[in-house]
């Protein structure tokens, strides 16, 4: 039996390949820009610089893991609805998982923030990485706040009636009514999680593009992400950031 190895001209690969006449198309330009900014070996590296061998670098990925559990449990809660999470034992368990994963998310994010602040992690053209992290943190506070308002218990009533005065004092109460349960639920399960996930995704891509910030003792110009060569990547990747 012989196998025909000649390329199939009708296959999608043969039409998607780079052709000189297609260089001006926006798809080709976008593809080239994306690959140039984040080549696969940088997007998903096998090793990290030796200086990331410290527990303080673990808290970024711990925050990501907690966020994944928050989103997953939130999706399950949205599928089955309020009666399920209030009344059935499984629903109460998933509701608790949702709450405690949020606690872990904020706990690890704050430790991550302190670590990066004292490393001055905005050094070496990493300002955008720092700013996306800060904005993601602030939006996460809003996402958690609307979550507390959506608990449907006395705690959420207390929080909303206390918060309305503060929000109204800023003038934002005209469009953001903390006593409007439907609006708060929509912000909590749709708008704010979408923004948080997009910002966190951008933050991670920027970490991959610029590399993990080196300690002060290592010159920035020899650190990962600044020069293509980077320092010796000697620590097997354990997804630290």
């Amino acid at each position: 039996m012989t196998i025909d190895t000649t390329p199939d001209k009708t296959a999608p690969d043969s039409v998607a390949a780079d052709r000189p006449e297609d260089a001006d198309q926006w798809t080709a330009k976008l593809r080239h820009a994306a690959v140039e900014a984040l080549p696969p070996e940088r997007l998903l590296p096998d090793r990290q610089p030796a200086y990331v061998a410290s527990w303080i670098y673990v808290f970024g990925v711990l925050t990501l893991a907690a966020l994944a559990v928050v989103i997953l449990t939130g999706v399950v809660l949205a599928i089955f609805g309020p009666s399920w999470w209030h009344e059935s034992s499984t629903g109460l368990f998933v509701n608790s998982l949702h709450l405690w994963s949020v606690e872990v998310f904020f706990f690890s994010m704050v430790v991550h923030l302190w670590g990066k602040f004292f490393m001055a992690a905005w050094r070496g053209r990493r300002r955008a990485t720092w700013i996306t992290g800060v904005v993601a943190f602030v939006i996460s506070v809003g996402a958690a706040f609307t979550g507390y308002l959506a608990q449907q218990n006395f705690d959420s009533q207390w929080i909303s009636t206390q918060a309305k005065d503060g929000i109204n004092a800023t003038g934002a109460g005209a469009i953001f009514n903390v006593t409007n349960f439907g609006q708060m639920l929509m912000w909590h399960i749709m708008l704010l999680p979408l923004v948080v996930v997009l910002l966190v995704g951008l933050h991670v891509l920027l970490v991959r593009r610029r590399g993990v910030v080196p300690p002060f003792a290592i010159p920035l110009e020899s650190a990962a992400g600044v020069e293509p060569a980077g320092p010796p990547r000697t620590t097997p990747n354990q997804e630290q950031s």
Binding site: A50, A53, S54, W55, I56, V58, F59, F107, V110, V111, W114, G115, P232, T234, T235, P236
Partner: protein, 63 residues
């Protein structure tokens, strides 16, 4: 198994009495719940530990 779970929950519940108003610390104009203060203390503890405790390195890794 359910008995064990109930016993564990009862033991955990007896450590902190949650059946009542929360306790707060007042310091001038600063007012914070004991629960939040404990969490902040734990974060500081974990932060210091993360810096001080050595990270396990794989054999053969260069420095």
């Amino acid at each position: 198994m359910q008995m064990l779970g109930a016993a564990a929950m009862s033991l955990l519940g007896s450590l902190v009495n949650l059946d009542g108003p929360g306790r707060y610390v007042h310091w001038g104009f600063i007012q914070i719940s004991v629960a939040n203060l404990v969490v902040i203390g734990l974060m500081l503890l974990v932060f210091v530990a993360a810096i001080l405790i050595p990270f396990r390195r794989h054999r053969g890794d260069d420095q």
